[in-house]
Amino acid sequence: MNKTLTAASLAFALGTAMTVAATPVAAPMADKEKCFGVALKGKNDCKAGAGTTCAGTSKIDYQGNSWSLVPKGTCEKTASPTSPTGHGQMAEFKERKA
């Protein structure tokens, strides 16, 4: 009988899974961050499929409540003329005049 079939080993696995911070099996998205205010008009990321209305619908360049996926750590270094800090932000913001 395979060792994973024993109740005790299953209990150990489930119990351990509960307590340890899970090691993700692999997470290609992990080195991305949502960056607000750096998308050009109509180029914001949002994948909901054909006929849905959110992808590519930001009305102005560098819209403060539109986001793009960018490599981790680069968001707040990306220029955003509408952002009060002058750079992309990790949360929505209200645009200032560019």
Binding site: T4, T6, A7, L10, A11, A13, V20, A27, K47, A50
Partner: protein, 256 residues
């Protein structure tokens, strides 16, 4: 002219324009029908291009639009929800002889479609620590414990590097480092509002598919172990709990 005749003529360019059409300004109704027919098919091709973005990038605009056009004629939408249009497109690609040299193409399309489905899947909360503790307290029933997984969760098993190819086209990986023929298994699930794509070992994919098919924890784990003795049950259970992807624990004493 019946509605059926009109619809049939719309989707078959070899059919003549339906009889009985009239144009308000005296122009040729057959010509105007051809314009309308073209708009219909182009809008369907555009819908597929929206959903299968990476597939399009992999083969280029011209090839993609050619195969999308054939698909749109063969399988017009059955629902008004265009977000879900293209469910059969990956299979269509697979059976399309000109795409035979690109074995990864259909699987990348599958991954893209599952992401759309995951995005729109129902919200169901994950089980809490109490439910897990209750299951642990009744240790003898763990081998026959059933697990319901989140409705957004799905697995794409591929003989190609489906996750790496997809990730390379999101700017996450460098495409030049991807070996397209390395088998990969993709896990797609939505956590909160984010659809996530993870690469998982084949045995983990088998484990999840077994659970989805209703197999017990013990049986699913044994199946995964038979594929790979290094199968890490702790790691996948931890991931599922962390992503709130286990939505119910179903204790049962009947053998499964």
């Amino acid at each position: 002219m019946s509605q059926q005749d009109f619809a049939a003529a719309l989707l078959d360019p070899d059919l003549p324009a339906p009889a009985g059409l009239a144009a308000w300004n005296g122009s040729d109704p057959a010509q105007r029908f051809r314009v309308y027919r073209n708009n219909v098919i182009v809008s369907l091709i555009d819908a597929l291009a929206d959903t299968f973005e990476v597939t399009l990038e992999l083969v280029g605009e011209e090839f993609f639009r050619a195969i999308a056009r054939l698909y749109a004629y063969a399988c017009p939408p059955q629902s008004r929800l265009m977000a879900f249009y293209g469910a059969g497109f990956p299979d269509f690609i697979e059976s399309f002889p000109p795409a035979a040299g690109l074995p990864y193409l259909a699987d990348v399309a599958r991954l893209e479609y599952r992401r759309i489905v995951a995005y729109h899947a129902a919200d169901v909360p994950g089980v809490g620590a109490e439910a897990v503790a209750a299951a642990l307290a009744d240790e003898a029933t763990l081998p026959t414990l059933g697990m319901t997984l989140h409705p957004s969760l799905s697995v794409v098993v591929s003989t190609s590097a489906v996750v790496s190819l997809w990730a390379a086209h999101q700017g996450i990986l460098d495409l030049s480092t991807v070996a397209p023929d390395a088998p990969e298994t993709a896990l797609i699930l939505r956590h909160g509002l984010n659809v996530e794509v993870l690469q998982i070992p084949a045995a983990v994919g088998a484990f999840l598919c077994e659970l989805q098919a209703g197999a017990s924890l013990g049986r699913a784990a044994a199946e995964a172990m038979s594929i790979d003795t290094d199968f890490n049950l702790v790691s996948i259970l931890g991931l599922l709990l962390q992503k709130s992807a286990i939505t119910a624990l179903n204790p049962t004493r009947s053998p499964t």
